[in-house]
């Protein structure tokens, strides 16, 4: 992105103060979101989400694995975000590593809940087939194709859509004769189990520019930010995760205000997203 001149910066900040952003949106308005599911045939579930000019693809692959010794009654989920150089030249090689890690950790935090598994969007104990021996390993891989700001929100939306699209094959387990023997597993090609994604949260990032907050910032607006707070809210209005991003310090009352604004805005965003995902799934069939 080419740097902004002083005049352009003033224009951006002034517009935000007057509740009229460069593309005509108000401060708390999202860009139009478009969802396509089933874009990757080899994956168990996939989705492609476009939020304005930001485009991301999420794919979910499930493989049979062994549960960890510490949690024998839980399956495993790992989230990995890759910022591709097609989005920005600096992401090539090791440049995008820091951003990828920040996004992966923020997504894991929002989707997997506390360490005991409470508040998790994906119920890990539903992924276990034979306790201590066989479980599903879910690999959620997201790819950023084009970046125009607000990557975290689009990634969360893509993962939600991909989870709705995911079908886990039904597995017939034959336990071995003795408890030490590895059970035999027979993965069916026909029947599939769908995920219940009503508890999967959406992430809303509020960017503070001057004294006001905006939702769904473009990359130009993000360059002018003082700080940002990403809040993950589920359909019941519960906060499932929060990350403060960006450098400057914030007064605690400001943070709490941002959280309540995010809660309010997210309800509308979740309903728009849900209807888009449902439409995409319906057109898929």
């Amino acid at each position: 992105m080419v740097g902004l001149s002083e005049g352009e910066k003033q224009f951006l900040r002034g517009g935000i103060e007057q509740d009229l952003r460069s593309d005509g949106r108000t401060r708390l308005q999202f860009r139009s979101v478009s969802v396509e599911t089933g874009v990757i045939p080899q994956a168990n579930g996939s989705a492609r989400v476009r939020l304005g000019a930001t485009e991301v693809i999420a794919s979910i692959k499930a493989e049979l694995g062994k549960p960890s010794l510490l949690h024998p009654d839980k399956g495993k989920v790992s989230i990995f975000v890759d910022c591709s150089p097609t989005a920005a030249a600096i992401y090539g090689g090791k440049g995008g590593e820091e951003l990828s890690m920040e996004l992966s950790v923020a997504l894991e935090r929002c989707l997997l809940g506390g360490k005991s598994g409470a508040g998790a969007a994906i119920d890990l104990s539903s992924l276990v087939l034979v306790e201590g021996k066989v479980c599903w390993d879910l690999y959620i891989d997201a790819l950023v194709i084009s970046s125009d700001g607000n990557l975290l929100d689009s990634l969360a939306a893509a993962i939600k859509a991909a989870l709705t699209n995911t079908g886990l094959p039904k597995v017939n387990v034959v336990l071995g004769a003795s408890p030490e023997e590895q059970p035999e597993v027979d993965v069916s090609d026909e029947e599939f189990l769908q995920f219940d994604t009503s508890t999967v949260p959406a992430i809303v990032t509020l960017t503070k520019v001057g004294k006001h907050y905006i939702v769904d910032a473009t990359s130009e607006e993000e360059s002018q930010m003082n700080s940002a707070v990403s809040v993950s809210v589920n359909r019941n209005g519960q906060i499932c995760g929060l990350t403060k991003r960006g450098g400057a310090g914030l007064d605690p009352s400001v943070i709490l205000d941002m959280v309540s604004v995010a809660k309010h805005v997210s309800q509308q965003f979740i309903s728009v997203l849900d209807s888009e995902i449902a439409a995409a799934e319906a057109s898929d069939e």
Binding site: E98, E102, K244, G249
Partner: protein, 254 residues
């Protein structure tokens, strides 16, 4: 007679302890394993000047969590980096291989370096050292729970010891939510079975939060009344302890 050997507990014993903790968590009041109340932090042991080679360093011991941070700088930025009016802050957090009960588990926490950077970024006055870099290296000697807050507090003490200009000391605490209870400064055992956590780093004198991370399900009043106010208050007290530690070392050198 053969001496009995010690082997770390895995599997059944640990699960039993976790199940017991889950049963206790449904009650509203129970004793923590080290006798603290829910709103009591572990006693803090802080020392500056732990590493001779560094411009500034600090050692922090909060119960079983032991961290040493050394600060190098301001020193010349690499030639490949562009000229910059502001200084650069480079943070790196590493765990020793013996820090966790299972060898090498510390490498799971690669994001701590970025989080430390974000927590300190708002406090360090970068304009005072243009063209140069300040390196902050944190080494976790033993991970006993609530690692990141201890790393942040120790790093800000080390920066002060190195003479880097800052708006205020950054102190940090974390709370764990188990059932309906909120416990401050959790140990490893408590963290493993937590339902949610909140890590807060703030500059108490300016009343500004530099880092806030929430995991698990929270409702808005719970975040505000219980967790955040508790954390801000604890951070204020911790900053007071850090200041007295700095004053002590200044007096000793005189």
């Amino acid at each position: 007679m053969a001496a009995s050997t010690y082997s770390p507990s895995q599997g059944t014993e640990r699960r039993q302890r976790q199940q017991q903790m889950r049963r206790l968590s449904i009650q509203s009041d129970w004793d923590r394993s080290d006798g603290r109340s829910f709103i009591q932090c572990r006693p803090a042991f802080l020392r500056t000047g732990a590493a001779n080679a560094a411009s500034g360093s600090a050692y922090a011991e909060f119960g079983t969590t032991k961290v040493i941070v050394s600060v190098f700088g301001p020193r010349e930025s690499k030639k490949a980096m562009m000229y910059s009016d502001n200084g650069r802050l480079n943070c790196n957090v590493t765990f020793t291989t013996f820090a966790t009960s299972l060898r090498g588990q510390g490498s799971d926490n690669k994001e701590y370096s970025a989080m430390l950077h974000k927590a300190l970024e708002g406090a360090v006055i970068l304009e005072t050292f243009p063209k140069t870099t300040v390196d902050v290296f944190a080494l976790v000697l033993e991970s006993g729970g609530s690692d990141l807050p201890v790393i942040i507090s120790c790093a800000s003490l080390a920066l002060a010891d190195a003479g880097i200009m800052m708006y205020d000391l950054v102190s940090s605490v974390s709370v764990s939510c188990i059932g309906k209870n909120i416990l401050i400064d959790p140990t490893n055992e408590e963290e493993v079975c937590q339902d949610g956590s909140l890590v807060l780093a703030c500059m108490p004198a300016r009343n500004e939060v530099t880092q806030l991370t929430l995991t698990g399900e929270w409702s808005l009043p719970k975040i505000n009344e219980q967790a955040m106010e508790l954390c801000m208050d604890a951070c204020l007290k911790l900053a007071g302890i850090m200041r007295s530690c700095l004053k002590e070392s200044a007096n000793l050198s005189n």
